[in-house]
């Protein structure tokens, strides 16, 4: 009974999650209209580590608090009933049989070590949680890898049918394709750098279910560990009646590896309240109920493990901070952050690499970094104008950011924020270097008074013939670094006009012009 209810709930939450994921896409209006980031808002680990790293509380964490209270009363129901990554792990686990009678791995302490590492390092301002937080990880993997793969594969299949030109078949397939485009497919095929690496890690996590079901949830998930600690004294408890004959059926079916056969030694911090033991018990000896009784087995993490985790959390901070990339003058000039991003130092403390901004970016320009922002900033967002520019009147990335690493701007503010500055490469620009007309950068420049202006110049071609061209110049007082000039520059590959982060509003050190 519990099991059926749990599976239905899991399905409901997974569908809600996926539906919100699909809604994280512009329909052309200024707002999305759906609370697309509520799962991230409900994540107490992200809230806790961000608050620790920044030493501030940006907003009151209503949803995360609900999860905390629910866990303190009911145990890890979030893991068992809600978490979409947990549900996907469940589904991937269906590909293998339960391992009867073989001794399950006993690595459950690892996730507590990861949790302690993250808490300690964030206490000392280093925010790495997003890399392994299950919701961040899932949204990032879906945005950057799985969804683009789905889009590509579907598109390729329908394109193949389309190109056959068989009348009836094509009209049927196009009809279906149109419906898919309106419902589950993205508006444009997304492309992401880092898609392969992020994808491989995600598929490894799903694949680990073949080694042991819910491998990630049992052994690695830091949110699971946090909820495990919170569930230590949960009121909802499991009891086993006298009818139990220690057949061991429950051990094999236990999702969390909570040793359900041990009765009093049952590890309630590892239990997902999945209800499998109750469901499978041939003697119907298992029941769940509220009680104030002392919890079962003690949670012994081992002093040395705890000390080691704390120590690594501390050591990691200076280790990742001795990169010269931390010096503004040496920072990667192509590290163009989304509009509304806070100063780089605070940005790295807040960004949880969830990929929401990359998913919602309407030009596909927001991409995950690799090492451009140091290892600390891995998979944080960077604008790559050659892939997609920052649309002048769009503010969506700030709307979906769960931690205000990218602040929510209204249109008037957004239009003034400078994310970098464009400069012309005269050696590649057609009117400068090749006596050939071109004004594309000026044409597309979106500022009310164009930041790119044209100087009419007479140049000579090889034969000495005079040609009048208009050479583009950038007015740095007006340029906001949106990168549409770079995106649309006809010089393919290395563009003849490009944006670097110099002059970005958020940085005091990177200013160029005197006020």
């Amino acid at each position: 009974m519990i099991k059926k209810l749990r599976i239905a709930t899991q399905g409901l939450f997974l569908l809600t999650f996926l539906w919100l994921f699909l809604q994280t896409e512009s329909k052309g209006a200024n707002e999305l209209g759906y609370p697309v980031k509520i799962f991230l808002d409900a994540d107490p680990l992200l809230f806790l580590t961000t608050s620790l790293a920044t030493w501030s509380l940006d907003k009151f964490p209503y949803l995360a608090l609900i999860v905390v209270v629910a866990t303190a009363i009911l145990g890890r129901v979030f893991c068992g009933w809600v978490c979409p990554l947990g549900t996907l792990n469940n589904m991937a686990g269906l590909l293998t049989r339960w391992r009867w009678k073989t001794a399950p791995l006993n690595w459950y302490r690892v996730k507590y070590s990861i949790l302690i590492f993250l808490l300690i390092s964030s206490l000392f301002t280093l925010q790495l949680t997003g890399i392994v937080d299950p919701l961040s990880l899932l949204i990032r993997s879906l945005s950057v890898t799985v969804y683009p793969m789905f889009s590509y594969a579907t598109g390729a299949a329908f394109d193949t049918v389309y190109s056959t030109d068989i009348p009836v078949v094509v009209s049927i397939s196009e009809f279906i394709y149109t419906i898919l485009k309106k419902t589950v497919l993205p508006f444009q095929q997304p492309f992401f750098v880092q898609g392969v690496l992020i994808g491989i890690l995600f598929f490894l996590i799903l694949g680990a279910n073949l080694v042991e079901r819910r491998f990630w949830c049992k052994f690695l998930c830091p949110l699971g560990a946090l909820l495990g600690l919170l569930s230590r004294y949960a009121f909802l408890k499991r009891s086993v009646s006298e009818g139990c004959d220690s057949c061991g059926a429950c051990t094999a079916s236990c999702q969390g590896g909570a040793a359900p056969d041990r009765r009093e030694e049952w590890k309630n911090t590892e239990c997902f309240i999945c209800g499998n033991c109750d469901d499978i018990c041939p003697r119907n000896a298992v029941s769940f109920g509220f009680s104030l009784k002392k919890p079962g087995a003690s949670l012994d993490l081992g002093k040395r493990y705890v000390a080691g985790s704390i120590l690594s959390g501390i050591v990691a901070v200076p280790l990742l901070r001795i990169s010269p990339l931390m010096k503004p003058a040496y920072a990667n000039p192509l590290l163009i952050r989304p509009p509304g991003s806070v100063d780089e130092k605070a940005f790295l403390q807040k960004c949880v690499k969830c990929g929401e901004c990359m998913k919602v970016c309407i030009t596909n320009g927001l991409q995950p970094t690799f090492l451009e922002a140091g290892l600390e900033g891995i998979w944080s967002p960077v604008l790559i104008p050659r892939i997609g520019y920052c649309e002048y009147r769009c503010t969506l990335c700030g709307q979906v950011c769960p931690t205000e690493a990218i602040q929510k701007l209204d249109l008037a503010e957004k239009e003034k924020v400078r994310i970098g500055s464009a400069m012309v490469d005269k050696g590649r620009c057609l009117p400068y270097a090749h006596a050939t007309p071109c004004i594309v950068c000026e044409e597309v420049c979106p500022t009310p008074k164009k930041a790119i202006w044209l100087e009419t110049v007479t140049v000579k071609d090889r034969e000495g013939k005079e040609i009048i061209v208009k050479q583009p110049k950038v007015d740095l007082t007006l340029c906001i670094g949106c990168g549409i000039c770079e995106a649309k520059c006809p010089v393919i590959g290395q563009p003849a006009i490009y944006v670097t982060s110099v002059g970005e509003s958020r940085s005091k050190e990177k200013q160029l012009l005197l006020p």
Binding site: E391, P448, K488, P490
Partner: protein, 300 residues
């Protein structure tokens, strides 16, 4: 996709390229006596002056027949709201669509290959909503529907163009009048950039010839130039309301060159000031001599 129709359309436009005047008798009704070359309507209601301008040419039924599939091609190039005059006025576009249906058109399709993000352009311009409200079929550009087409070679010998345009029975161009950094003004002929695929930025190297080439490949039965608001500086994208001038004018005509030549006068210029208008005139696409045309002026 209907291959036969497509071939037919290509053939007809081929004939039209060699001598456009051949085509005009086919679409001119019997009461040609009252025919004007251009109709210019002024008034405060964009919908009313659009209708008045088309009526001034003899009415929509002169151009659209029962059962026609019509492509109406506005400028939806930019992520701007209507008051910035970067895209065709949504009421003008919707009125043209409505008129086509009144004339018995089977389908009226509206699309543009935008410069800014297409979803934002369609929505923010107000065109998608306005056109859908009157039953027009708004679609986003489908990259599979571009085909390399042979062009007359003033600048381009061939270029990928959008096949849906050529599959239609009738084409109506509905541009807006704006300034442009390279061509000085963008009017009707320049609006055909919105049916071009490929890496369009390259055509600016030979923009005037390119515009003539593409304009000769398309044969609109009607051009409706929106000058309700015109953009007088920082075009074609604009963004500053002080660059926008309210003219409350719509110009309609069948001659692509003549409409653009008249459009130039709205900015205090002459058609011959625009290189592509001059080239279009020399190529026989139309006439830029406004003095030789019968222009009907209407206040509505």
């Amino acid at each position: 996709m209907n291959r036969r129709k497509f071939l037919k359309a290509t053939l007809i436009s081929g004939i039209a390229i060699s001598s456009p005047e051949i085509l005009f008798p086919l679409i001119t009704p019997a009461n040609a006596a009252v025919k004007s070359d251009l109709a210019v309507a002024r008034g405060t209601s964009p919908a009313r002056i659009t209708r008045a301008a088309i009526d001034g040419l003899g009415g929509i039924r002169r151009f659209v027949s029962r059962g026609d599939v019509v492509v109406v091609k506005p400028n939806i190039g930019w992520d701007r709201t209507p008051e910035y005059a970067a895209n065709t006025n949504p009421e003008v576009v919707a009125t043209v669509v409505r008129l086509c249906y009144e004339a018995g058109a089977k389908k009226v399709k509206v699309f543009d290959n935008t410069v800014s993000n297409a979803k934002r352009c369609y929505k923010q311009s107000g065109i998608a909503d306005a056109v859908s409200a009157v039953g027009g079929l708004v679609s986003f550009i489908d990259d599979r529907k571009f085909r390399d087409m042979k062009l007359s070679g003033y600048a381009l010998r061939s270029w990928p163009l959008y096949t849906e345009v050529f599959e239609a029975d009738k084409i109506i161009n509905v541009p807006i009048a704006k300034t442009h950094g390279l061509t000085t003004l963008t009017l009707g002929m320049k609006n055909w950039m919105g049916i071009m695929g490929g890496w369009r930025g390259r055509i600016h190297q030979k923009i005037d010839g390119s515009l003539v080439d593409v304009s000769m490949a398309v044969t609109p039965v009607l051009v409706v130039l929106d000058a309700v608001r015109i953009l007088t500086a920082n075009g074609p994208q604009g963004g500053d309301l002080s660059d926008v001038k309210l003219l409350n004018t719509v110009v309609a005509g069948t001659d692509q060159v003549a409409v653009d030549a008249y459009g130039a006068t709205l900015f205090g210029m002459r058609g011959s000031d625009l290189a592509y208008v001059r080239m279009g005139s020399e190529a026989g696409l139309g006439t830029m001599e406004l003095s030789k045309l019968k222009i009907k002026r209407i206040t509505a």
